[in-house]
Amino acid sequence: MAEEKRIIEVQNLRTEFRMKRRTVYAVNGVSYYVNAGEIVGVVGESGCGKSVTQMSSLQLLLSPPAKITDGKVLFEGKKDILSYGSESEEIRTLRGAEIAMIFQEPMTSLNPVLTIGEQIAESVRLHMGMNRKQARERVIELLRLVNIPDPESRYGQYPHEFSGGMCQRIMIAMAMACNPKLLIADEATTALDVTTQAQILETLQEVVKKTNTALIIVTHNLGIVARYADRIYVMYAGRVIESGRAEDIFKNPQHAYTIGLLNSVPRLDDDKTRALIPIDGMPPNLQTESAHCPFLPRCTQALPECQSKGVPEMEERGCGHFAACYNRSLDRSLRISKDTLETKHISEERILDIRDLHMGFPVKGKNYGGRTTLKVLEGVNLYLRKGETLGLVGESGCGKTTVAKCVLRLYAPTGGSILYKGTELTALKEKELRPYRKNIQFIFQDPFGSLDPRQSIGDIVGEPLKVHHLAEGKEAVRRRVKELFEMVGLDYAMSSRAPHELSGGQRQRIGIARALASEPELIICDEPVSALDVSVQAQILNLLESIQRKMNLSYLFIAHDLSVVRHISDRIAVMYLGRIVEIADCDQLYRNPVHPYTKALLSAIPIPDPEVEKSRERIPLLGEMPSVSRRPEGCSFHPRCTCACEACRESIPQLVELKEEPGHFAACPVMYR
């Protein structure tokens, strides 16, 4: 670092939310700084005050209820910007021109009735006083900066004509419009696909380094900060509990919470036998100012002095590495074997056999009255053995969930067959299907949306029992529901609560309990942990694994996060635009991915370890996944493939078994060479 120019320095920031009956101490004395050209990561679970801290420093919170009670925010080492009023002229110029923010939802942040060019030009003209023509040129330059192809013609398009990833690029362009000195990306890539996420972050990194802008990445994803951040602040309960260079934090974490986080996330380069260690409990609700270390109730490595000595202060543990933890000899062993779990029994019997599955949705065509079919699935072949977990991965829109919904017969497939233990499900009528409903269950991505807000959680879990007459009489239902609650680790005393009174993890447990109620043999899990915090994610993954062993369940596990899939799956199928492109044993696939798409997907997943990250080869994906309505001829992947040949453009490659690896199938002609 030749030049150490401080862009922003926050000192001892405190923010409270003063509500009628209670006060929430959301930010409790946070200090941090960011230098020019530096990428700083802020990580922690949700509710730890990451976003509130950023919003407070710019005075973007509504007041009341929010109140900044203490602290200084020095911008470029000059005046404390907190001394400006929250709506003063000074802070508004600062916000638009010097400091810019990018939020999580790109689609809702853009105005749908204005072209994207006009929207970006607006802030350019406002803050830089350019005329129309100059502004247009500047906008095109910006679009080029964030790698939007063909910016001249894209200028006049509306937000709905762009994909989510493209919209996020536009947001970045808008944020960069006035050459800000500081850019804050608040969970900016969380809603995007892993491949798009990688592309966006690469773009951000490139833009920031090119323009010497300071960047704060606020995220819960440890992999992202490991790959991109120079320095990291770990937050917990509205405090920074550890800070330092990325390498130091990951290699030598000095706070029990940081270690807990690292232990709870699955890694792409893991040993298959590593068990996840969740952090039990939940972050504190911050309604009282805690007298001791806020992490103490969840800490497994607490010392007696943690209880008696009050809140620990940040102390230097190495060059620029600070931590607030009394325990100086923390156990950092990341690897604990899964040996404690019962062994899996995978039999050769195929519980589910999907053959040449086709699914099309009728849509209105371009011509008046014309109808075309949107072909989402184009011949999917899969089978699932009893007791095994098959991971199904791919970018969103590739048809993963459609496969699941076809198996559940929520959709009637347009072709092919689905055999459940030899019974053809596609031919059954709704009434005949009912007995099978008991055996095939579903766990949803959004634990809240899948629970009826009007019912108590006890009733929700008891519903399948009533529908299938699995327990007769109130007492029998009650007893069984209690059993199910205990099975998923919930207290039955909560059973009269409504779903909104639970935390995300508890809701997902209810979803699992409901799925287990009818004693199914096959459970389809559609992104069951992607909406959860990392520590809770580990709890749910462990729960799913232990139930599987206990009840000999088979899982079809749909997810976009390959490190999660790798952790839980026995075999993995990779899907692209309605076709399976590669299917193999979990280890085979990670050791020797054959299809270029699989390779690119794997390389897009960041590993929470900066040292590993540095040495990894990154395989970029060209462009974005096209919509199924514009499926390319031949191999669907060829326009994005770096090694596509003539054959790829002409014929559709079939799944072929690799000679040297039995059970490893891939649909790519390149592998024959």
């Binding site: 929520l410 299907l433 108590s456 519903e463 299938h468 009269s496």
Partner: protein, 280 residues
């Protein structure tokens, strides 16, 4: 336990307690009208016509010398029962038809929605008159006529809500469990879609009282000399300048009842919703 939560949420606000008490008072007055009324509501006494309120006639007398208080008490029986029953008919049918249309879609939706559209295109008062005439004169027929004219609006409201709620994951979850359509509609869709309907039904009570008055005015509704609030308002209108109390007293009663129903309806909606219930 659940019931206690419901009632404590229902009576969380003072206004609700007052309005609920007012409604109870009106209902009691209607039920005990024969005991409470000082005179016969139909007894004509031309010698005492158009008398201002006094101790003898608390609310005065009308143009035929009938005691307004007695007519108000007896009128409460007719007006309250007609308005309540008719909005319940309208609300219930609208709820069922709207849910069916929204949930099943396709032909079911087409038939129900087009019928509703056809009914909406006719002005409600004309529709009520047409149905009233077709069915003939009786209290039940008036209730049906007034009720039917409110069905199309309720269908649309319910259908729209069902269309959005049926796409939610918990409905999918119910289908995955293997629940029957009937069960899904009754247990999941209706409870989650009914809030706007409750509000709309509570608000249409006043309209129902006035619709009944319009029918009476046209000779299809309650016939003189039987008292009803709506008829009393329209009769009293002629004397608004000289004897304003003749229209104001029943008008005020209608206003109080409708206001109370609205507030009680709001409270009912909130108390039924566990999310709002938890916050209050």
């Amino acid at each position: 336990m659940k019931d206690r939560l419901f009632w404590s949420a229902f009576f969380a606000k003072k206004a609700v307690i007052i309005c609920f008490a007012v409604l109870c008072l009106f209902v009691l007055a209607a039920v005990f009208a024969p005991v409470l009324a000082p005179y016969s509501p139909t007894a004509i006494s031309l010698a005492e016509k158009e008398m201002a309120p006094s101790l003898k006639h608390l609310f005065g007398t009308d143009s035929l010398g009938r005691d307004v208080l007695s007519r108000m008490l007896y009128g409460a029986r007719i007006s309250l029962s007609i308005s309540l029953v008719s909005v319940l008919i309208g609300g219930f049918s609208g709820m069922i038809l709207g849910t069916l249309a929204g949930y099943f879609g396709g032909v079911v939706d087409l038939v129900i929605s087009r019928c509703a559209d056809a009914l909406i295109s006719i002005p409600p008062i004309v529709l009520t008159i047409a149905i009233g005439t077709a069915l003939g004169q009786s209290m039940l027929n008036i209730m049906i006529a007034v009720g039917i004219s409110s069905i199309p609006g309720n269908i649309r409201m319910m259908r729209g809500k069902v269309l959005s709620v049926k796409e939610r994951d918990f409905v999918t979850a119910a289908r995955v469990i293997g629940e029957e359509n009937r069960w899904i509609m009754l247990r999941h869709l209706i409870p989650n879609c009914i809030s706007p309907l409750i509000i709309s039904v509570a608000m249409s009570l006043g309209g129902a009282i006035m619709a009944e008055a319009a029918l009476s005015f046209l000779g299809i509704g309650i016939q003189p000399p039987n008292p009803a609030w709506g008829t009393m308002v329209s009769d009293g209108m002629r004397f608004l300048e000289t004897k304003p109390y003749l229209a104001l007293i029943p008008g005020f009663a209608i206003m109080v009842v409708v206001l109370s129903f609205n507030i009680v309806g709001d409270a009912l909606r909130d108390a039924l919703d566990p999310r709002i219930r938890g916050n209050s």
